[in-house]
Symmetry: C3
Protein backbone atom coordinates (compact mmCIF):
# COMPACT_ATOMS: atom_id res chain seq x y z
CA UNK A 1 0.00 0.00 0.00
CA UNK A 2 2.83 2.44 0.85
CA UNK A 3 4.41 1.33 -2.41
CA UNK A 4 1.23 2.28 -4.29
CA UNK A 5 1.28 5.73 -2.73
CA UNK A 6 4.93 6.07 -3.67
CA UNK A 7 4.34 4.93 -7.24
CA UNK A 8 1.53 7.35 -7.74
CA UNK A 9 3.65 10.22 -6.44
CA UNK A 10 6.53 9.13 -8.69
CA UNK A 11 4.24 8.93 -11.72
CA UNK A 12 2.87 12.36 -10.96
CA UNK A 13 6.36 13.83 -10.56
CA UNK A 14 7.45 12.27 -13.87
CA UNK A 15 4.56 13.78 -15.82
CA UNK A 16 5.17 17.27 -14.53
CA UNK A 17 8.97 17.07 -14.56
CA UNK A 18 9.13 17.34 -10.77
CA UNK A 19 11.25 15.43 -8.27
CA UNK A 20 10.27 13.92 -4.94
CA UNK A 21 12.10 15.14 -1.81
CA UNK A 22 15.67 13.79 -1.91
CA UNK A 23 15.86 12.70 1.72
CA UNK A 24 14.53 9.12 1.87
CA UNK A 25 13.38 9.34 5.49
CA UNK A 26 11.63 12.65 5.11
CA UNK A 27 10.02 11.39 1.91
CA UNK A 28 8.87 8.23 3.68
CA UNK A 29 7.23 10.26 6.42
CA UNK A 30 5.28 12.24 3.84
CA UNK A 31 4.20 9.11 1.98
CA UNK A 32 3.19 7.48 5.27
CA UNK A 33 1.10 10.55 6.01
CA UNK A 34 -0.62 10.25 2.64
CA UNK A 35 -1.27 6.56 3.23
CA UNK A 36 -2.69 7.25 6.68
CA UNK A 37 -5.01 9.91 5.30
CA UNK A 38 -6.13 7.64 2.50
CA UNK A 39 -6.98 4.94 5.05
CA UNK A 40 -8.75 7.36 7.34
CA UNK A 41 -10.67 9.48 4.84
CA UNK A 42 -10.68 7.44 1.67
CA UNK A 43 -8.48 9.96 -0.15
CA UNK A 44 -4.83 11.00 0.22
CA UNK A 45 -5.18 14.49 1.64
CA UNK A 46 -2.09 16.59 2.24
CA UNK A 47 0.07 15.18 5.04
CA UNK A 48 0.97 18.71 6.18
CA UNK A 49 -2.55 20.06 6.50
CA UNK A 50 -5.55 19.27 8.66
CA UNK A 51 -8.35 17.61 6.70
CA UNK A 52 -12.02 17.91 7.61
CA UNK A 53 -13.00 14.42 6.53
CA UNK A 54 -15.57 15.79 4.08
CA UNK A 55 -14.39 15.06 0.57
CA UNK A 56 -15.68 18.20 -1.09
CA UNK A 57 -14.24 20.49 1.57
CA UNK A 58 -10.88 18.75 1.43
CA UNK A 59 -10.77 18.40 -2.35
CA UNK A 60 -8.32 21.26 -2.84
CA UNK A 61 -5.83 19.68 -0.42
CA UNK A 62 -5.96 16.15 -1.84
CA UNK A 63 -2.46 15.42 -3.06
CA UNK A 64 -1.48 16.73 -5.59
CA UNK A 65 -3.22 19.72 -4.07
CA UNK A 66 -4.51 22.69 -6.03
CA UNK A 67 -1.60 24.77 -4.75
CA UNK A 68 1.23 22.51 -5.84
CA UNK A 69 1.69 23.77 -9.37
CA UNK A 70 1.68 27.50 -8.58
CA UNK A 71 3.93 26.84 -5.55
CA UNK A 72 6.50 24.81 -7.49
CA UNK A 73 6.38 27.45 -10.21
CA UNK A 74 6.91 30.34 -7.79
CA UNK A 75 8.94 28.84 -4.95
CA UNK A 76 10.40 25.66 -6.40
CA UNK A 77 8.52 23.23 -4.19
CA UNK A 78 5.07 22.45 -2.85
CA UNK A 79 3.96 23.37 0.67
CA UNK A 80 5.13 20.01 2.05
CA UNK A 81 8.30 19.81 -0.03
CA UNK A 82 7.06 16.49 -1.40
CA UNK A 83 7.31 17.74 -4.99
CA UNK A 84 10.15 19.97 -6.08
CA UNK A 85 12.01 21.41 -9.01
CA UNK A 86 15.29 19.87 -10.11
CA UNK A 87 17.42 22.75 -8.80
CA UNK A 88 16.05 22.29 -5.28
CA UNK A 89 16.21 18.51 -5.54
CA UNK A 90 19.89 18.77 -6.45
CA UNK A 91 20.60 21.22 -3.65
CA UNK A 92 21.51 24.05 -6.04
CA UNK A 93 18.71 26.19 -4.63
CA UNK A 94 17.95 25.98 -0.91
CA UNK A 95 14.58 24.58 0.14
CA UNK A 96 12.64 27.34 1.85
CA UNK A 97 9.39 27.43 3.72
CA UNK A 98 6.37 28.03 1.52
CA UNK A 99 3.58 30.37 2.60
CA UNK A 100 0.12 28.76 2.83
CA UNK A 101 -1.72 29.58 -0.38
CA UNK A 102 -5.00 27.96 0.65
CA UNK A 103 -7.63 30.70 1.00
CA UNK A 104 -8.78 31.28 4.59
CA UNK A 105 -12.42 30.80 3.57
CA UNK A 106 -11.71 27.25 2.44
CA UNK A 107 -10.01 26.50 5.73
CA UNK A 108 -12.86 28.04 7.67
CA UNK A 109 -15.44 26.06 5.73
CA UNK A 110 -13.57 22.81 6.26
CA UNK A 111 -13.03 23.37 9.97
CA UNK A 112 -16.63 24.39 10.55
CA UNK A 113 -17.82 21.17 8.92
CA UNK A 114 -15.25 19.14 10.75
CA UNK A 115 -16.52 20.43 14.11
CA UNK A 116 -20.14 19.87 13.12
CA UNK A 117 -19.75 16.33 11.89
CA UNK A 118 -19.46 14.31 15.11
CA UNK A 119 -22.31 16.05 16.95
CA UNK A 120 -25.02 16.30 14.26
CA UNK A 121 -26.69 13.81 12.01
CA UNK A 122 -24.23 11.24 10.73
CA UNK A 123 -24.12 10.60 6.99
CA UNK A 124 -25.73 7.34 5.92
CA UNK A 125 -22.95 4.94 5.06
CA UNK A 126 -23.09 3.39 1.60
CA UNK A 127 -19.66 1.83 1.26
CA UNK A 128 -16.90 1.53 3.85
CA UNK A 129 -14.48 4.21 2.78
CA UNK A 130 -16.62 6.51 0.67
CA UNK A 131 -19.60 6.99 2.94
CA UNK A 132 -18.92 10.58 3.86
CA UNK A 133 -18.04 11.43 0.30
CA UNK A 134 -21.26 10.13 -1.12
CA UNK A 135 -23.39 11.75 1.53
CA UNK A 136 -21.96 15.22 1.19
CA UNK A 137 -20.74 15.47 -2.35
CA UNK A 138 -23.66 16.75 -4.33
CA UNK A 139 -25.15 18.97 -1.69
CA UNK A 140 -22.93 21.78 -0.44
CA UNK A 141 -20.42 22.55 -3.15
CA UNK A 142 -21.53 24.04 -6.46
CA UNK A 143 -19.40 22.83 -9.34
CA UNK A 144 -19.16 24.42 -12.74
CA UNK A 145 -17.69 23.56 -16.09
CA UNK A 146 -14.67 25.78 -16.75
CA UNK A 147 -12.57 26.14 -19.86
CA UNK A 148 -9.23 27.74 -20.50
CA UNK A 149 -9.65 30.55 -22.99
CA UNK A 150 -6.11 30.01 -24.15
CA UNK A 151 -5.95 26.29 -24.92
CA UNK A 152 -9.54 25.13 -24.45
CA UNK A 153 -8.92 22.71 -21.56
CA UNK A 154 -12.22 21.79 -19.91
CA UNK A 155 -12.72 20.81 -16.28
CA UNK A 156 -15.57 20.42 -13.80
CA UNK A 157 -14.77 21.90 -10.41
CA UNK A 158 -15.87 24.42 -7.83
CA UNK A 159 -13.24 26.97 -8.94
CA UNK A 160 -10.87 26.95 -11.90
CA UNK A 161 -7.34 25.67 -11.31
CA UNK A 162 -4.62 28.18 -10.41
CA UNK A 163 -2.60 27.12 -13.43
CA UNK A 164 -3.92 25.41 -16.55
CA UNK A 165 -2.43 21.89 -16.50
CA UNK A 166 -2.19 21.90 -20.29
CA UNK A 167 -0.84 25.35 -21.26
CA UNK A 168 0.06 26.89 -17.86
CA UNK A 169 -2.21 29.89 -18.38
CA UNK A 170 -3.15 31.65 -15.17
CA UNK A 171 -6.48 31.15 -13.42
CA UNK A 172 -7.75 34.41 -14.91
CA UNK A 173 -7.77 32.73 -18.34
CA UNK A 174 -10.55 30.39 -17.24
CA UNK A 175 -14.18 31.19 -17.93
CA UNK A 176 -17.35 29.31 -17.20
CA UNK A 177 -18.72 27.14 -19.98
CA UNK A 178 -22.45 27.56 -19.85
CA UNK A 179 -24.58 24.77 -21.14
CA UNK A 180 -28.31 25.26 -21.26
CA UNK A 181 -29.31 23.25 -18.23
CA UNK A 182 -27.48 22.03 -15.23
CA UNK A 183 -24.58 19.74 -14.65
CA UNK A 184 -24.56 17.31 -11.82
CA UNK A 185 -21.96 14.88 -10.62
CA UNK B 1 6.09 7.61 -42.21
CA UNK B 2 8.07 5.45 -39.77
CA UNK B 3 9.73 8.67 -38.66
CA UNK B 4 6.32 10.15 -37.90
CA UNK B 5 5.40 7.16 -35.79
CA UNK B 6 8.73 7.46 -33.97
CA UNK B 7 8.31 11.18 -33.39
CA UNK B 8 4.88 10.75 -31.96
CA UNK B 9 6.10 8.05 -29.59
CA UNK B 10 9.04 10.24 -28.57
CA UNK B 11 6.76 13.22 -27.95
CA UNK B 12 4.47 11.07 -25.87
CA UNK B 13 7.37 9.68 -23.85
CA UNK B 14 8.68 13.21 -23.22
CA UNK B 15 5.38 14.48 -21.86
CA UNK B 16 4.98 11.63 -19.42
CA UNK B 17 8.65 11.38 -18.48
CA UNK B 18 8.95 7.92 -20.02
CA UNK B 19 11.66 6.43 -22.21
CA UNK B 20 11.38 4.32 -25.34
CA UNK B 21 12.92 0.84 -25.30
CA UNK B 22 16.72 1.21 -25.32
CA UNK B 23 17.42 -1.47 -27.92
CA UNK B 24 17.25 0.21 -31.35
CA UNK B 25 16.28 -2.93 -33.24
CA UNK B 26 13.61 -4.01 -30.81
CA UNK B 27 12.28 -0.44 -30.79
CA UNK B 28 12.22 -0.38 -34.57
CA UNK B 29 10.21 -3.58 -34.69
CA UNK B 30 7.61 -2.07 -32.37
CA UNK B 31 7.43 1.15 -34.39
CA UNK B 32 7.14 -0.87 -37.61
CA UNK B 33 4.27 -2.76 -36.02
CA UNK B 34 2.54 0.51 -35.15
CA UNK B 35 3.07 1.80 -38.67
CA UNK B 36 1.68 -1.40 -40.18
CA UNK B 37 -1.40 -1.22 -37.99
CA UNK B 38 -1.94 2.42 -38.86
CA UNK B 39 -1.79 1.56 -42.55
CA UNK B 40 -4.07 -1.42 -42.16
CA UNK B 41 -6.68 -0.05 -39.77
CA UNK B 42 -6.27 3.70 -39.94
CA UNK B 43 -5.02 3.88 -36.32
CA UNK B 44 -1.84 2.69 -34.59
CA UNK B 45 -3.15 -0.17 -32.49
CA UNK B 46 -0.80 -1.99 -30.14
CA UNK B 47 1.83 -4.00 -32.03
CA UNK B 48 1.70 -6.75 -29.39
CA UNK B 49 -2.04 -7.33 -29.45
CA UNK B 50 -4.54 -8.55 -32.00
CA UNK B 51 -6.81 -5.78 -33.26
CA UNK B 52 -10.35 -6.34 -34.52
CA UNK B 53 -10.28 -3.62 -37.15
CA UNK B 54 -13.28 -1.89 -35.61
CA UNK B 55 -12.14 1.41 -34.17
CA UNK B 56 -14.40 1.50 -31.14
CA UNK B 57 -13.57 -2.05 -30.12
CA UNK B 58 -9.87 -1.45 -30.53
CA UNK B 59 -9.86 2.01 -28.96
CA UNK B 60 -8.42 0.85 -25.65
CA UNK B 61 -5.44 -0.76 -27.40
CA UNK B 62 -4.58 2.16 -29.68
CA UNK B 63 -1.08 3.22 -28.69
CA UNK B 64 -0.69 4.73 -26.10
CA UNK B 65 -3.17 2.16 -24.85
CA UNK B 66 -5.40 2.59 -21.81
CA UNK B 67 -3.19 0.20 -19.89
CA UNK B 68 0.14 1.93 -20.41
CA UNK B 69 0.01 4.39 -17.53
CA UNK B 70 -1.08 1.93 -14.83
CA UNK B 71 1.42 -0.63 -16.18
CA UNK B 72 4.36 1.78 -16.19
CA UNK B 73 3.32 2.92 -12.72
CA UNK B 74 3.08 -0.62 -11.34
CA UNK B 75 5.62 -2.59 -13.35
CA UNK B 76 7.89 0.03 -14.86
CA UNK B 77 6.94 -0.56 -18.50
CA UNK B 78 3.98 -1.03 -20.77
CA UNK B 79 2.82 -4.43 -22.02
CA UNK B 80 5.03 -4.16 -25.15
CA UNK B 81 7.99 -2.55 -23.38
CA UNK B 82 7.75 0.33 -25.84
CA UNK B 83 7.40 2.85 -22.99
CA UNK B 84 9.38 2.48 -19.82
CA UNK B 85 10.57 4.15 -16.67
CA UNK B 86 14.08 5.55 -16.47
CA UNK B 87 15.32 2.82 -14.10
CA UNK B 88 14.34 0.09 -16.56
CA UNK B 89 15.62 2.10 -19.52
CA UNK B 90 18.99 2.41 -17.80
CA UNK B 91 19.08 -1.26 -16.91
CA UNK B 92 18.95 -0.61 -13.15
CA UNK B 93 15.73 -2.58 -12.87
CA UNK B 94 15.29 -5.68 -15.05
CA UNK B 95 12.56 -5.60 -17.69
CA UNK B 96 9.97 -8.20 -16.76
CA UNK B 97 6.95 -9.58 -18.54
CA UNK B 98 3.78 -7.63 -17.88
CA UNK B 99 0.48 -9.41 -17.26
CA UNK B 100 -2.32 -8.51 -19.71
CA UNK B 101 -4.50 -5.90 -18.03
CA UNK B 102 -7.08 -5.71 -20.81
CA UNK B 103 -10.38 -7.05 -19.49
CA UNK B 104 -11.47 -10.36 -21.03
CA UNK B 105 -14.85 -8.88 -22.01
CA UNK B 106 -13.15 -6.28 -24.20
CA UNK B 107 -11.13 -8.98 -25.91
CA UNK B 108 -14.21 -11.13 -26.39
CA UNK B 109 -16.17 -8.22 -27.84
CA UNK B 110 -13.38 -7.34 -30.24
CA UNK B 111 -12.83 -10.90 -31.39
CA UNK B 112 -16.53 -11.54 -31.89
CA UNK B 113 -16.76 -8.48 -34.13
CA UNK B 114 -13.62 -9.38 -35.93
CA UNK B 115 -15.01 -12.79 -36.84
CA UNK B 116 -18.35 -11.30 -37.89
CA UNK B 117 -16.99 -8.64 -40.15
CA UNK B 118 -15.92 -10.54 -43.28
CA UNK B 119 -19.05 -12.71 -43.52
CA UNK B 120 -21.87 -10.25 -42.73
CA UNK B 121 -22.86 -6.88 -44.16
CA UNK B 122 -19.85 -4.75 -44.89
CA UNK B 123 -19.85 -1.21 -43.52
CA UNK B 124 -20.52 1.48 -46.13
CA UNK B 125 -17.25 3.18 -46.94
CA UNK B 126 -17.24 6.97 -46.62
CA UNK B 127 -13.53 7.82 -46.79
CA UNK B 128 -10.59 5.57 -47.55
CA UNK B 129 -9.09 4.95 -44.15
CA UNK B 130 -11.92 5.84 -41.79
CA UNK B 131 -14.77 3.93 -43.34
CA UNK B 132 -15.07 1.26 -40.68
CA UNK B 133 -14.66 3.83 -37.95
CA UNK B 134 -17.48 5.98 -39.23
CA UNK B 135 -19.80 3.08 -39.81
CA UNK B 136 -19.45 1.51 -36.41
CA UNK B 137 -18.56 4.34 -34.14
CA UNK B 138 -21.83 5.71 -32.91
CA UNK B 139 -23.73 2.47 -32.84
CA UNK B 140 -22.33 -0.13 -30.51
CA UNK B 141 -20.34 1.66 -27.89
CA UNK B 142 -22.02 3.96 -25.40
CA UNK B 143 -19.79 6.85 -24.42
CA UNK B 144 -20.24 9.08 -21.43
CA UNK B 145 -18.77 12.27 -20.11
CA UNK B 146 -16.61 11.52 -17.08
CA UNK B 147 -14.89 13.86 -14.67
CA UNK B 148 -12.23 13.34 -12.07
CA UNK B 149 -13.63 14.23 -8.66
CA UNK B 150 -10.16 15.14 -7.51
CA UNK B 151 -8.91 17.57 -10.17
CA UNK B 152 -11.96 18.06 -12.40
CA UNK B 153 -10.47 16.61 -15.63
CA UNK B 154 -13.23 15.92 -18.13
CA UNK B 155 -13.21 13.24 -20.83
CA UNK B 156 -15.66 11.53 -23.18
CA UNK B 157 -15.16 7.79 -23.34
CA UNK B 158 -16.83 4.46 -22.81
CA UNK B 159 -15.17 3.97 -19.39
CA UNK B 160 -13.08 6.34 -17.32
CA UNK B 161 -9.28 6.07 -17.63
CA UNK B 162 -7.41 3.83 -15.20
CA UNK B 163 -5.33 6.77 -14.03
CA UNK B 164 -6.25 10.44 -14.35
CA UNK B 165 -3.77 11.93 -16.85
CA UNK B 166 -3.76 15.22 -14.93
CA UNK B 167 -3.57 14.30 -11.23
CA UNK B 168 -2.99 10.51 -11.32
CA UNK B 169 -6.09 9.76 -9.26
CA UNK B 170 -7.34 6.21 -9.61
CA UNK B 171 -10.25 5.26 -11.85
CA UNK B 172 -12.53 5.15 -8.80
CA UNK B 173 -12.24 8.93 -8.54
CA UNK B 174 -14.13 9.36 -11.82
CA UNK B 175 -17.87 9.96 -11.89
CA UNK B 176 -20.28 10.53 -14.72
CA UNK B 177 -21.11 14.12 -15.62
CA UNK B 178 -24.76 14.34 -16.59
CA UNK B 179 -25.79 17.30 -18.72
CA UNK B 180 -29.38 18.27 -19.38
CA UNK B 181 -29.35 20.30 -22.66
CA UNK B 182 -27.14 21.66 -25.41
CA UNK B 183 -23.71 23.22 -25.45
CA UNK B 184 -22.96 26.86 -26.04
CA UNK B 185 -20.01 29.01 -25.20
CA UNK C 1 7.20 40.35 -13.94
CA UNK C 2 9.88 39.05 -16.31
CA UNK C 3 10.56 36.40 -13.69
CA UNK C 4 6.91 35.36 -13.80
CA UNK C 5 7.06 35.01 -17.56
CA UNK C 6 10.23 32.95 -17.22
CA UNK C 7 8.76 30.72 -14.52
CA UNK C 8 5.68 30.01 -16.57
CA UNK C 9 7.80 29.07 -19.58
CA UNK C 10 9.99 26.88 -17.40
CA UNK C 11 6.96 25.14 -15.88
CA UNK C 12 5.54 24.56 -19.33
CA UNK C 13 8.83 23.15 -20.61
CA UNK C 14 9.07 20.82 -17.60
CA UNK C 15 5.61 19.35 -18.14
CA UNK C 16 6.22 18.59 -21.80
CA UNK C 17 9.85 17.54 -21.39
CA UNK C 18 11.07 20.49 -23.45
CA UNK C 19 13.98 22.84 -22.84
CA UNK C 20 14.18 26.61 -23.18
CA UNK C 21 16.69 28.07 -25.63
CA UNK C 22 20.20 27.55 -24.21
CA UNK C 23 21.53 31.03 -24.98
CA UNK C 24 20.65 33.25 -21.99
CA UNK C 25 20.59 36.47 -23.99
CA UNK C 26 18.50 35.13 -26.81
CA UNK C 27 16.16 33.56 -24.25
CA UNK C 28 15.88 36.85 -22.40
CA UNK C 29 14.92 38.64 -25.58
CA UNK C 30 12.12 36.16 -26.19
CA UNK C 31 10.86 36.43 -22.62
CA UNK C 32 11.02 40.24 -22.82
CA UNK C 33 8.94 40.01 -26.00
CA UNK C 34 6.36 37.88 -24.20
CA UNK C 35 6.28 40.31 -21.29
CA UNK C 36 5.85 43.26 -23.63
CA UNK C 37 2.97 41.56 -25.42
CA UNK C 38 1.31 40.66 -22.14
CA UNK C 39 1.51 44.29 -21.05
CA UNK C 40 0.27 45.57 -24.37
CA UNK C 41 -2.49 43.07 -25.13
CA UNK C 42 -3.24 41.42 -21.83
CA UNK C 43 -1.90 38.05 -23.03
CA UNK C 44 1.57 36.79 -23.92
CA UNK C 45 1.30 36.43 -27.68
CA UNK C 46 4.21 35.00 -29.63
CA UNK C 47 7.22 37.33 -29.62
CA UNK C 48 8.05 36.35 -33.20
CA UNK C 49 4.66 37.02 -34.74
CA UNK C 50 2.51 40.08 -35.26
CA UNK C 51 -0.56 40.10 -33.01
CA UNK C 52 -3.83 41.81 -33.92
CA UNK C 53 -4.73 42.81 -30.37
CA UNK C 54 -8.03 40.93 -30.56
CA UNK C 55 -7.84 38.01 -28.18
CA UNK C 56 -9.84 35.54 -30.20
CA UNK C 57 -7.93 36.22 -33.39
CA UNK C 58 -4.60 35.95 -31.62
CA UNK C 59 -5.54 32.95 -29.49
CA UNK C 60 -3.65 30.45 -31.65
CA UNK C 61 -0.42 32.46 -31.27
CA UNK C 62 -0.60 33.00 -27.52
CA UNK C 63 2.45 31.27 -26.11
CA UNK C 64 2.54 28.25 -25.97
CA UNK C 65 1.00 28.62 -29.42
CA UNK C 66 -1.08 25.98 -31.16
CA UNK C 67 1.86 25.21 -33.42
CA UNK C 68 4.48 24.53 -30.78
CA UNK C 69 3.77 20.85 -30.16
CA UNK C 70 3.62 19.75 -33.81
CA UNK C 71 6.70 21.90 -34.54
CA UNK C 72 8.78 20.48 -31.69
CA UNK C 73 7.63 17.01 -32.72
CA UNK C 74 8.55 17.49 -36.37
CA UNK C 75 11.45 19.95 -36.32
CA UNK C 76 12.75 19.81 -32.75
CA UNK C 77 11.82 23.36 -31.78
CA UNK C 78 8.99 25.86 -31.94
CA UNK C 79 8.86 28.69 -34.49
CA UNK C 80 10.70 31.09 -32.13
CA UNK C 81 13.13 28.49 -30.79
CA UNK C 82 11.89 29.30 -27.29
CA UNK C 83 10.96 25.64 -26.67
CA UNK C 84 13.13 22.83 -27.93
CA UNK C 85 13.93 19.18 -27.70
CA UNK C 86 16.86 18.00 -25.62
CA UNK C 87 19.00 17.09 -28.66
CA UNK C 88 18.75 20.62 -30.01
CA UNK C 89 19.21 22.15 -26.56
CA UNK C 90 22.40 20.17 -26.15
CA UNK C 91 23.64 21.11 -29.61
CA UNK C 92 23.54 17.52 -30.89
CA UNK C 93 21.08 18.53 -33.59
CA UNK C 94 21.47 21.94 -35.24
CA UNK C 95 18.72 24.50 -34.70
CA UNK C 96 17.08 25.19 -38.04
CA UNK C 97 14.52 27.66 -39.20
CA UNK C 98 10.95 26.47 -38.85
CA UNK C 99 8.37 27.10 -41.58
CA UNK C 100 5.30 29.08 -40.47
CA UNK C 101 2.54 26.59 -39.75
CA UNK C 102 -0.13 29.20 -39.00
CA UNK C 103 -2.79 28.97 -41.71
CA UNK C 104 -2.93 32.01 -44.02
CA UNK C 105 -6.66 32.47 -43.31
CA UNK C 106 -5.95 33.01 -39.61
CA UNK C 107 -3.30 35.59 -40.45
CA UNK C 108 -5.63 37.34 -42.89
CA UNK C 109 -8.44 37.41 -40.36
CA UNK C 110 -6.19 38.82 -37.65
CA UNK C 111 -4.67 41.47 -39.88
CA UNK C 112 -8.03 42.56 -41.23
CA UNK C 113 -9.31 43.06 -37.69
CA UNK C 114 -6.16 44.78 -36.64
CA UNK C 115 -6.56 47.38 -39.40
CA UNK C 116 -10.26 47.83 -38.61
CA UNK C 117 -9.92 48.31 -34.90
CA UNK C 118 -8.61 51.86 -34.58
CA UNK C 119 -11.04 53.37 -37.12
CA UNK C 120 -14.33 51.69 -36.19
CA UNK C 121 -16.36 51.46 -33.02
CA UNK C 122 -14.18 50.82 -30.02
CA UNK C 123 -15.08 47.91 -27.76
CA UNK C 124 -16.73 48.89 -24.47
CA UNK C 125 -14.17 48.47 -21.71
CA UNK C 126 -15.22 46.33 -18.76
CA UNK C 127 -11.95 45.76 -16.92
CA UNK C 128 -8.51 47.26 -17.55
CA UNK C 129 -6.68 44.48 -19.33
CA UNK C 130 -9.50 42.25 -20.55
CA UNK C 131 -11.74 44.80 -22.20
CA UNK C 132 -11.04 43.80 -25.77
CA UNK C 133 -11.28 40.16 -24.89
CA UNK C 134 -14.68 40.49 -23.30
CA UNK C 135 -16.07 42.62 -26.07
CA UNK C 136 -15.03 40.41 -28.93
CA UNK C 137 -14.90 37.00 -27.47
CA UNK C 138 -18.34 35.57 -27.93
CA UNK C 139 -19.19 37.34 -31.16
CA UNK C 140 -16.92 36.52 -34.06
CA UNK C 141 -15.39 33.17 -33.31
CA UNK C 142 -17.53 30.09 -33.09
CA UNK C 143 -16.22 27.65 -30.52
CA UNK C 144 -17.15 24.02 -30.25
CA UNK C 145 -16.63 21.21 -27.81
CA UNK C 146 -14.18 18.72 -29.26
CA UNK C 147 -13.10 15.34 -27.99
CA UNK C 148 -10.26 13.05 -28.90
CA UNK C 149 -11.67 9.78 -30.21
CA UNK C 150 -8.58 8.00 -28.99
CA UNK C 151 -8.26 9.07 -25.34
CA UNK C 152 -11.44 11.08 -24.75
CA UNK C 153 -9.76 14.44 -23.97
CA UNK C 154 -12.34 17.23 -24.14
CA UNK C 155 -11.66 20.87 -25.05
CA UNK C 156 -13.61 23.95 -26.05
CA UNK C 157 -12.02 25.83 -28.94
CA UNK C 158 -12.58 27.09 -32.44
CA UNK C 159 -10.66 24.17 -34.01
CA UNK C 160 -9.26 21.03 -32.42
CA UNK C 161 -5.59 21.05 -31.39
CA UNK C 162 -2.98 19.80 -33.88
CA UNK C 163 -1.84 17.18 -31.39
CA UNK C 164 -3.84 15.82 -28.46
CA UNK C 165 -2.05 17.07 -25.32
CA UNK C 166 -2.93 13.85 -23.49
CA UNK C 167 -2.28 11.02 -25.98
CA UNK C 168 -0.57 12.82 -28.90
CA UNK C 169 -3.17 11.68 -31.41
CA UNK C 170 -3.33 13.79 -34.54
CA UNK C 171 -5.95 16.48 -35.12
CA UNK C 172 -7.91 14.08 -37.34
CA UNK C 173 -8.74 12.05 -34.24
CA UNK C 174 -10.84 14.90 -32.86
CA UNK C 175 -14.59 15.05 -33.42
CA UNK C 176 -17.22 17.49 -32.29
CA UNK C 177 -19.08 16.61 -29.14
CA UNK C 178 -22.71 17.47 -29.59
CA UNK C 179 -24.76 17.57 -26.47
CA UNK C 180 -28.50 17.13 -26.89
CA UNK C 181 -30.07 15.67 -23.83
CA UNK C 182 -27.73 12.93 -22.93
CA UNK C 183 -24.29 13.07 -24.47
CA UNK C 184 -23.58 11.24 -27.67
CA UNK C 185 -20.55 11.07 -29.91
Amino acid sequence: MLEQVRKRAEADARTYGYFLHPDPEFLNDLLEGLKRNEERYGYPSCPCRLASGVFEYDRDIICPCDYRDPDVQEFGSCYCALYMRKDLYEGKTPIRSIPERRPPEKMARAYATSAEAPSGKAPTPTAPSTAVVAAKETTQVKKKIWYCKQCGYVCFREDPPYVCPICKAKREMFAELTLRTDAQG
